[in-house]
């Protein structure tokens, strides 16, 4: 057992080194932050980089074909598969054979049958069994309207059979390493057992990338946007008003809000009511948990996440930020208010640092409530100047940050050019909606093994219950078997939905609602991870992380109790050991076993969580490899998981 562990560790460190290199190259040169910290500020848009280059191999051949040829190719392959059940023959080989035989199915089949390489039983057996299994795939019937994809698996490349076809996996190289199979070494290795054949059924899937293109290609690009900022900056009002102007809230509802908020003496919050829905939030005029809403811009379909600004609700804000691609950092331009939120321990800084550490790189900054300073250009410039310096330091690229003057209450510069003369006089840039439209949608890591982090659990209709959360990586279809970690309980996906619209498949990046069966509701908790049973996530209560310490009032020592945030999970933990202090910019070890870690230091530490959690190495899955450490309601450090211990 312990030997296994060693091997795993070795694997890991090799890979981590490699990953460091790759990562270093992917960052622009004008990036302000030091190279070693870039990892903390990982760019979500690049998250599929490695998997992309993986699947290119086959795409490249296909890329040279014309559209009609591609269609032909697809249908040939499908026919061959029916004839041969060639699901174990690499897709690329099929492609090459078909092309070389000039799209003649008969000849291609002969070539394959004659090739000694494929004569072995393992490629061409089990025909019947596999065939019936593949038809269980529920997605297939659904996609019948799409031309070439028949009800046979299109990509043989997805089939995992131990290490037989190591370079044919669609998963990233890292996830193929023995390390990723560590939870189920038996299944991975014993490729000939019937159990494995059964498990294979799930694996016989479409190429996720292509499927994604097919399913979503027509739609507007989806974008998850979190709205952050100090309490009372006007986040909910700004977004509520924007939604109203976009017609997402009808006039009657708005009128109702206006009447009712007036009764409470809180008429200034009428737009905020669009997002603040609970009685408590409305009565107090404060957002407590993340509010959600859908809207569209010219080119994007946006899911809005309205975060609470109050310090006490940062845990909710973090769980919302974990789902976001981009962020709006709303600041209050009112004299004194901006200063409270920014200079004197307000949440403007903490929120910005948090979203950056959680992988958000694109930011728009609405300078709000400009009506209170008579649309003063000087005030706008003053705030922009202050924020620019800070945001750059926090790791945002200057070109990825846009400042927009606006007023959420009066509605200036939200969905159309401003009309206020004082503003028109000096501002000629885009309105808020245009800025949102200009955000780039990140690539979705759909080819990686499936993971979903649960951030809500509730009763569905009837006896079933639902979980919802962000699909971090991979895809999930109705009927799939999933594993709930850390408890390692299996469940079956009964149905899927995104924003109440039912789906048969969901992809990485989606905020999905999953109806589960075969599992008790009380055995599921927020922060649990649903994953592919064949490629389960790791489960451990002890791990090493490379952390960056923010501004702290007291230093971190060993034995320091913290609250650990990992996706939506919030769990007490202890910093067990300070392993080494690192140079912030070079990453080189400055000191072994430091006595304490002060402000702005970087270090490797060992963290012990009060109970096992589902997690992954940052190098294997960035989404599940990040942690935040908080103490007494203040974020003290952000970390990347570098080693899983137990």
């Amino acid at each position: 057992m312990s030997r296994h562990r060693d091997i795993r560790n070795m694997d890991y460190s090799d890979e981590y080194d490699g990953y460091d290199d790759i990562y270093g190259h992917s960052v622009d040169d004008d990036y302000y932050i030091s190279p070693s910290n870039r990892q903390f500020l990982y760019n979500r848009e690049n998250s599929t980089r490695s998997s992309e280059s993986d699947i290119k191999e086959e795409d490249e051949v296909e890329a040279q074909l014309s559209d009609t040829e591609k269609v032909k190719l697809e249908s040939c392959i499908d026919q061959i598969k029916v004839i041969l059940d060639s699901k174990n023959i690499p897709h690329s080989d099929l492609v090459n054979t078909v092309i070389s035989q000039n799209f003649d199915v008969q000849r291609a089949v002969n070539v394959i049958l004659e090739d000694p390489k494929y004569k072995q039983a393992k490629y061409l057996d089990k025909k019947e069994k596999v065939f019936t299994q593949t038809t269980i795939q529920p997605t297939e019937s659904e996609s019948s309207n799409v031309k070439v994809v028949a009800s046979t698996p299109k990509t043989a490349t997805n089939v995992t059979k131990g290490f037989d076809l190591p370079n044919k996996l669609t998963f990233t190289p890292r996830s193929q390493s023995p390390a990723s199979g560590r939870e189920t070494p038996v299944t991975v290795l014993s490729s000939d057992t019937t159990e494995d054949t059964k498990a294979k059924a799930k694996d016989v899937k479409f190429d996720p990338q292509q499927l994604y293109k097919k399913e979503r290609g027509e739609e507007k690009e989806h974008l998850y946007m979190i709205v952050i900022g100090h309490v009372d900056a006007g986040k909910s009002t700004l977004m509520g008003h924007l939604l109203y102007e976009l017609g997402q809230v009808n006039q009657r509802t708005m009128h109702k809000y206006e009447q009712e908020s007036r009764k409470l003496g809180k008429q200034s919050f009428m737009y905020a009511w669009v997002l603040d829905e609970t009685g408590e939030e409305r009565n107090r005029g404060i957002t407590m948990d993340v509010g959600r809403f859908q809207f569209s811009t010219k080119t994007k379909s946006v899911t809005l996440l309205d975060a609470p600004g109050h310090k006490d609700f940062i845990p909710n804000m973090i769980s919302g930020a974990g789902q976001a691609d981009v962020a709006l950092l709303v600041v209050d331009a009112t004299r004194g208010e901006f200063e409270t939120g920014f200079d004197f321990g307000g949440q403007t800084r903490e929120h910005a640092l948090l979203v950056r550490s959680l992988g958000v790189t694109q930011l728009a900054v609405p300078i709000n409530k400009l009506d209170t300073v008579s649309w003063s250009k000087e005030r706008f410039d003053e705030i922009v100047k202050k924020l620019k310096g800070f945001l750059k330091q926090a790791g945002f690229k200057e070109s990825d940050v846009t400042f927009v003057p606006c007023s959420g209450l009066s509605g200036q510069n939200l969905t159309s050019k401003p009309t206020e003369n004082e503003l028109v006089a000096w501002y000629d840039g885009p309105c808020l909606l245009e800025v949102i439209d200009n955000f780039r949608s990140p690539e979705r890591p759909v080819s990686k093994p499936f993971r979903l982090s649960i951030n809500d659990i509730f009763k569905g209709t009837g006896a079933a219950f639902c979980v919802s959360g962000r699909v971090e990586t991979g895809t999930l279809s109705v009927g799939d078997k999933v594993l709930l970690c850390p408890n390692r309980e299996s469940a079956i996906v009964k149905s899927l939905a995104i924003e109440d619209v039912s789906k048969t498949i969901v992809f990485a990046g989606d905020q999905a609602t999953v109806t589960l069966s075969g599992i008790e509701m009380q055995n599921v908790s927020v922060g649990n991870i649903l994953c592919d049973p064949q490629y389960p996530v790791s489960v451990a209560s002890k791990f090493q992380a490379r952390i960056v310490v923010f501004n702290v009032t007291v230093p971190i020592t060993k034995g320091f109790p913290v609250v650990l945030h990992h996706q939506s999970l919030v769990e007490p933990a202890v910093v067990r050991k300070l392993i080494s202090q690192l140079n912030k910019s070079t990453g080189e070890v400055l000191k072994k076993h430091p006595r304490f870690l002060g402000n702005n230091t970087s270090a490797i530490v060992e963290i012990q969580v009060s109970r096992p959690i589902a997690l992954e190495l940052y190098s294997e899955c960035k989404e599940l490899g990040r942690v935040m450490l908080r103490v007494g309601g203040v974020t003290i450090a952000a970390g990347l998981i570098t080693k899983i211990i137990l």
């Binding site: 009685g279 408590e280 809500d456 908790s525 034995g559 320091f560 007490p572 006595r595 908080r630 007494g632």
Partner: protein, 383 residues
Amino acid sequence: MKLVEKNFDKEGVGYVVLIPEESEDMWHAYNLISKGDSVRSTTIRKVQTESSTGSSSSNRVRTTLTITVENIDFDTQACMLRLKGRNIEENQYVKMGAYHTLDLELNRKFSLRKAEWDSVALERIDLACDPTKSADVAAVVMQEGLANVCLITSSMTIVRAKIDVSIPRKRKGFVQQYEKGLTRFYDQVMQAILRHINFDIVKCVLIASPGFVRDQFFDYMFQTAVKTDNKVLLDNKSKFMLVHSSSGFKHSLKEVLQDPAVMNKISDTKASAEVKLLETFYMMLQLEPARAFYGKKHVEKANEAQAIETLLISDNLFRCQDVKLRKEYVKLVDSVKENGGDVRIFSSLHISGEQLEQLTGVAAILRFPMPELEEDDDSAEDD
């Protein structure tokens, strides 16, 4: 604790007879008794008797036994000490050398003999028998879906109940599920309070949470109390105090105990003094690191230089099985005191004590900086 008798000779060999009177006394006893001591107390023993006809029957007899302690368990929930060891005194029912487990309970007299009574043990007796009682405090630290109902005495913090449920989040058009889940949660917390808090003993109930959870819960609880005419709650309403904490996890009790309003109300608990002192240590580490050290090696070196102003040491170090090691810690304590330093023995049952325990169990604030200590790289720290 009631001290019935104390009998030491000039070398410090001897025994004490004690009667534990309240739950905290069991904790003192736990810290007092070490492996190798002998303890005498009444107990129940199952005895097999054979009648003249040859049939055997077993019955329970009450007898007094003396054992040499080999193993000690402390059950915080039942408030009981379980001592296991060999019988060392001739007895009608139990053979010499036979194993027996003595249960020490509240109000059961026991005598304890040690080969050597050191200063730490003697101080523990003084502490245990101190008649000025600090008020017992109950604290409920909570956040949406999580609550810890704790009891805080001067040297123990015990979690009596933990409620951990998942509450659906607010979702478009489905606010009711959230509000229903929240109500059910509040009800569970309220039941836990009624079940675990004895209002005859507890002088103050702290309700701590981030946000508005505490206010909401408090309103819910007293609305319900009025509806159901719950006298216990209504009569004790003035004992409740609402304070801020950053989370519902147990360790945010630390923030609660540092709240000035709380410190005023429960002025004399050891718990908040310990929190404050540990905080002082950390502040020193931040501001003047060469005046704050932890770990046996560093602290001993600082002591050699007579530099220790305040020694923070966890009581679990004195419970250690290794007699030699215990002696070393006792020596450290004595020597710091001799040099005019202040010694604070932290209870490992309090949250600050838990943290100190994780921080090697021993830390010191120095009178003057000793940067030379920082230099000697301490890889022995690695455990």
